[in-house]
Symmetry: C2
Subunit: 355 residues, 2 copies
């Protein structure tokens, strides 16, 4: 093995720590899931689960006005990504991504023995006009876009993504891990595209919007020509456990509850953005449940030091040690109390340490 693996965000053990580093929803899942959990009989765990989780596929298909054949249930978004690589990207064929992007993509590409083509985003994190052309010029067979983008929070419009997919000759995976937090007034929806285009897969997860990161549940939306070979050939044969299938079904049925938490997160996001701007951070526009802030280290402590200080105060945020991100911090939106605590610790620190 030639490579380093993915570095996961720290998972602090202390229950009272404020965890704003791995973009979980700060609110718990729908309380209806309690009833589901309490109704599980042990004997139902004795048997193998439904091999393809069809009841859950049907419920999700209904949500998106699609068919069961358009949906593949996965063990978290991670499995959806891995399966896209193993099913659709032969070793040595090129993988394409924006730079920066989700740090797992190049790890998966390296496991797959595929060269990575990185296309830098514009200064405002917009995908450059020449994206598809550059992918085609390098004969890229699979490309991943995370939209809304991480770690910036930038949302590319449906029309932009559609144009990219139309121009790109390979398979485009749109990782919509954070799509639940997009302002509903934007009417952002790409799912209809899987009926028009045979080269687009859309990734969704229960980890963020549905507050179920601990469950490991996600899904892919795509043309049956893309979904079918994964179901029949490359995925592990019983890839979704019984509990995940039952709880996922309830989470979709009680989506309204989660949807209310998305509204709360959006409100907190806009409020926190203003507070962080007051402190002197540059805050990028975000349609996700996190904010990327930029620190002018000629005027204050470097980003990494701020991250380390906050950790010493029991507040975990995310620092990325790469050229373009080393003066930035990614902060997940917490509860109003957690956000207030963050802001007051920052004010406390920076008032003492302004250059």
């Amino acid at each position: 093995m030639r490579m380093d693996g993915y570095s996961w965000g720290e998972q602090p053990e202390q229950e009272d720590s404020i965890k704003l580093n791995t973009n979980e929803n700060p609110y718990p899942p729908s309380p209806n899931l309690n009833a589901t959990l309490s109704q599980i009989t042990l004997n139902s765990l004795r048997r193998y689960p439904h091999p393809t989780a069809d009841p859950l596929r049907d419920e999700i298909a209904k949500l998106h006005s699609l068919q069961r054949e358009n949906i593949l249930i996965t063990h978290g978004g991670d499995e959806a990504l891995r399966l896209s690589f193993t099913t659709f990207l032969d070793p040595k064929h090129c993988f394409g991504m924006t730079d920066p992007s989700y740090s797992l993509y190049p790890v998966l590409s390296e496991i797959n023995d595929s060269p990575v083509i990185r296309i830098p985003l514009e200064p405002d994190w917009k995908i450059p006009e020449h994206f598809s052309q550059t992918l085609n010029d390098s004969d890229v067979k699979l490309a991943c876009i995370v939209n809304p983008h991480a770690p910036s929070g930038y949302l590319s419009s449906g029309n932009e993504i559609k144009r990219i997919a139309e121009q790109f000759r390979g398979l485009l995976l749109v990782d919509e891990a954070y799509v639940d937090f997009v302002d509903p007034e934007l009417k952002h929806d790409l799912t209809y595209l899987v009926e028009e285009l045979e080269n687009i897969l859309i990734l969704r997860t229960f980890s963020k919007g549905y507050s179920l990161a601990g469950l490991r549940l996600g899904y892919l939306i795509g043309n049956p020509k893309l979904i079918d070979p994964i179901i029949r050939k490359t995925r592990d044969s019983y890839n979704i456990g019984f509990l995940e299938q039952q709880l996922g079904l309830e989470a979709i049925k009680h989506r309204d509850y989660s949807s209310t938490t998305w509204g709360l997160v959006r409100e907190s996001r806009e409020k926190l953005k203003i507070e962080l701007q007051k402190i002197g951070f540059k805050v990028y526009p975000s349609q996700t449940n996190f904010l990327l802030v930029e620190i002018d280290s000629s005027e204050m402590l470097p980003a990494k030091s701020i991250c380390t200080f906050l950790k010493s105060r029991g507040i975990f945020i995310r620092y990325f040690d790469t050229e373009r991100l080393s003066n930035k911090l990614r902060i997940s939106i917490g509860t109003p109390e957690q956000n207030d605590k963050l802001v007051s610790e920052l004010i406390n620190l920076l008032s003492k340490n302004t250059k």
Copy 2:
């Protein structure tokens, strides 16, 4: 994609069907798991789970008198197998297995673009003396043995396996999915080998012995030099959900309960063996929770017809349509009531259809 996927055993929808086709434990898991389930708070599902499931690794290490570094927790045995391929077998390098064996192995090998070397078992399902030599002659880099063997139930001794591992120049994975059902008087235990040999991985699962097929939980035991690259590089970063970690921990803590069910299964196995021999089937010796029976079709209905008839009566058993197995049936051990029902349906059918 060039190949067919794995064919999973049928999972009938009817609650009252008798399922003797996929080797689940007929008894439910320890009732202590009910308390674990009822104590789960929804907020604990909100966060990402422990990335490497260390509390569960520690408990399993203790069980086997090994260290945390010897254990990798996996999403069912299937993930353990897949990870062994992706981590230790480069494409084009040869994979080795006995013939017959678990039908998933050649599927994984084909996904990996690796040729399969199949070494026929002796007529009594013993692994031939020349096994390691033949693997070495073909420069096989990874080989899988299921022990006790499926679908025959045959147990190779610890000394036989040790000799194979010592002589084989590649990595030997011993799939011990059914080891919990081995007669304890045989004192069969291979786990100590991982401290002596750096080319052996042992696979265990919660699906059979612990009655938790619905949970998707398993583990690999091996030298840290084998476990470490999987943990750091090839596995999905949060591969085990919170619920699986909690329930797995409880299952290991209350292993005595499951151990009692293994004794009951062994008793039923010996009783059912006698009943099936009385009917006129040849029954192979088994150290698992299933029996492989051979049907002399010059004297009675062919195996496939018997399987079809039983299905029409709500009893599911397993038929494999391959040359060596086409006159045989694999029957999981059920509860005494289920086994009695099976026997009486067989007597009923065969008394009318003896040639």
